[in-house]
């Protein structure tokens, strides 16, 4: 409960701070004539944004598809005792800086979008697995006992009791994971993954603020959009009885 609130509070702060920053940047950019130069790059922005979104969608989607079943599996009776071990391994993995993860991924898979997607997937996986694990573990044992006592099968208990009651924590994990993911995608450019990082890093290298902003502003907007979509899903798809937001 406490860490969910912390995540919520953090992302709100982050979002508001970002908005102020964007506004200040935008005003300054326009005044200094940088923004008009950005519009010259419009075609690049559209292309790279699409690439950027693809990177987020594929790596994030894979992480969700792998992370939730993995988290669920680690709470099942047979695998329960491995839960903490796997979590430890993933935690150690999470302490490796994201740039290093991408570099390692490149040394393994070469240059291009494959290593980028793999690196992003690894970075995104941990919060999803750990929150799925924590969410299901936090379902009170007496709910499981009541469900068993009424004659629910293990599958019914998972789908009708454990997952719905862990949903909020699982969503919080996905939200954190996607925030990390979106924030890391610009680095994918460094290993040839493309995306808006291309404009940002090129802008920095060429000392062209217009180009840099052409990459940074869509990146920031995308981060806000993803977080907003996640918060709306969290609000509307979790039943009212177990949704602290409603």
């Amino acid at each position: 409960m406490a860490d969910q609130i912390a995540i919520g509070g953090f992302s709100r702060l982050w979002r508001n701070g970002l908005l102020v920053l964007i506004f200040a940047l935008g005003a300054w950019a326009w005044a200094s004539g940088l923004l008009p130069t950005m519009f010259d790059l419009w075609d690049d922005i559209v292309f790279l944004t699409r690439q950027h979104i693809m990177l987020v969608a594929i790596s994030g989607g894979l992480a969700i598809l792998v992370g939730i079943p993995l988290g669920v599996a680690l709470t099942r009776r047979r695998l329960r005792r491995y839960g903490d071990i796997v979590l430890q391994v993933l935690n150690i993995g999470a302490t490796i800086p994201t740039l290093a993860v991408l570099a390692l991924s490149m040394s393994l898979l070469g240059i291009g979008d494959k290593p980028a997607i793999f690196g992003l997937f690894v970075v995104t996986l941990l919060p999803i697995v750990s929150n799925t694990l924590a969410g299901i573990r936090a379902v009170p044992p007496y709910l499981i006992e009541a469900a068993q006592g009424m004659g629910m099968s293990p599958w019914q208990i998972l789908w009708k009791v454990e997952l719905p009651n862990a949903m909020f924590v699982i969503y919080a994990g996905i939200r954190t994971a996607l925030a990390i993911n979106v924030g890391t995608v610009p680095l994918a450019f460094l290993i040839g993954g493309g995306g808006l990082g291309e404009l940002i890093f090129s802008g920095i290298a060429l000392n062209e603020f217009g180009m840099m902003l052409a990459g940074a502003i869509p990146t920031a907007l995308l981060a806000i959009l993803v977080d907003f979509l996640m918060s709306q899903m969290q609000l509307w798809t979790i039943p009212r009885g177990v949704n602290p937001l409603r």
Binding site: A146, G149, G151, P164, G241
Partner: protein, 370 residues
């Protein structure tokens, strides 16, 4: 009917069996309370009935069918189950919570939802208000009522209840217990009910099974357990005030002197005195034309005064309804500092009287029998 034959449970790594060769039978339609201190094996015994815990040895039959012949999941769908923590699913509405077992069994939706509304009305909760609410929006007492309704939704013949009213405050607990007993009077389920509270057991049970260290020490009616505890453990457990507890099991009618003499307003005091002396009483009740209690005359007044009863009677401080239990009767006597009470029915018609001496005698009888 639930029958346990020589059932034993030894948990892996435990030196002592949790349940040690228990044989007992709960007759159909009765409430059997499994009673004992924590760790005595009562909950384990109950959980072996729906196979949440598998017995190490022994057989359990429900309506003469061996529970081992069923798939445990299928078996549990035919047995109602209520736990102390209630365990309503917070992600489901009250309606969906009540309909869990009907839904698993694949009942038609309109039938199960209709049943949910019907059940809510039975416990005086308005279906219009409560069906669509979530558990967190209900008070503890309301939640526990729903917990019971959920267990009986698919109308199982057998109910297993694990300290179902343990987490509720004493006032609400008494109300819910009464409500439950009223429901049980019509639904006649065979119930195994775990409790550690002797007062609850005395109130709810047709039979009490007292457990100690995994063994069934005594299995008898509440009155017999209180009147004839089998050994030191039972008598300590039921408490040194066990005889007082028996008072709530006995009704005023059990100790009442039936068809007592009475006088009317137009009778003379001499008649009253003669009647009292004939019966060895020191006072007599005056009744009205329909037989309702109006007052009383005592022997001293009747002997020392001349005239009609109607002009010399005194009013009674109180009366007691024949349907009350003796605990209430004794309490009423103490409150009004009297040693006897006139008993009336719901129409205040005079039915008899109870005396402190009569009650003492009744309680003593059981002890002399033993």
């Amino acid at each position: 009917m639930i029958r346990l034959e020589d059932v034993t449970k030894v948990f892996p790594g435990a030196a002592q069996p949790a349940v040690d060769h228990v044989t007992m039978e709960v007759p159909a339609g009765e409430i059997c309370v499994l009673l004992g201190p924590s760790g005595c094996g009562k909950t384990t015994t109950m959980k072996m009935v729906n196979r949440l815990i598998e017995p190490s040895s022994g057989k359990i039959y429900i309506d003469d069918k061996d529970t081992n012949d069923y798939d445990p999941v299928q078996l549990r769908r035919t047995l109602g189950y209520v736990i102390q923590q209630i365990g309503l699913f917070p992600n489901k509405t009250i309606e969906d919570n009540i309909c869990i077992v009907p839904d698993i069994l694949g009942w038609d939706r309109s039938k199960s939802r209709g049943r949910a509304a019907e059940l809510l009305e039975m416990v005086a909760l308005d279906p219009k208000i409560f069906l669509k609410r979530y558990p967190k929006e209900l008070s503890g007492g309301q939640q526990q009522r729903i917990g019971v309704l959920r267990a009986i939704a698919a109308d199982p013949p057998v109910l297993l209840m694990d300290e179902p009213f343990g987490a509720i405050d004493p006032i609400n607990r008494a109300i819910i217990q009464d409500e439950f007993l009223k429901m049980q009077a019509t639904m006649k389920k065979t119930i195994m009910f775990v409790s550690h509270d002797i007062d609850e057991a005395v109130k709810m049970a047709d039979r009490i099974a007292i457990f100690s260290e995994g063994r069934l020490v005594q299995y008898d009616t509440p009155d017999n357990i209180l009147a004839h505890p089998k050994n030191r453990f039972v008598s300590d457990f039921v408490g040194s005030d066990r005889t007082l507890k028996r008072l709530q099991l006995l009704k005023v009618t059990d100790a009442m002197m039936h068809d007592p003499p009475s006088v009317r307003a137009e009778d003379t005091l001499a008649t009253a005195a003669a009647l009292m002396e004939e019966n060895g009483h020191t006072s007599i009740i005056m009744v009205g034309p329909a037989g309702r209690v109006r007052g009383y005359v005592d022997l001293k007044t009747a002997k020392s005064t001349k005239g009609k009863v109607g002009e010399n009677h005194e009013t009674l401080p109180t009366t007691i309804n024949v349907t009350e239990d003796l605990r209430t009767a004794v309490s009423t006597m103490f409150r009004h500092d009297v040693a006897w009470l006139a008993c009336v029915d719901n129409d205040r018609i005079f039915k008899g009287y109870v005396t402190l001496r009569g009650i003492t005698h009744l309680l003593g009888e059981a002890h002399r029998d033993g």
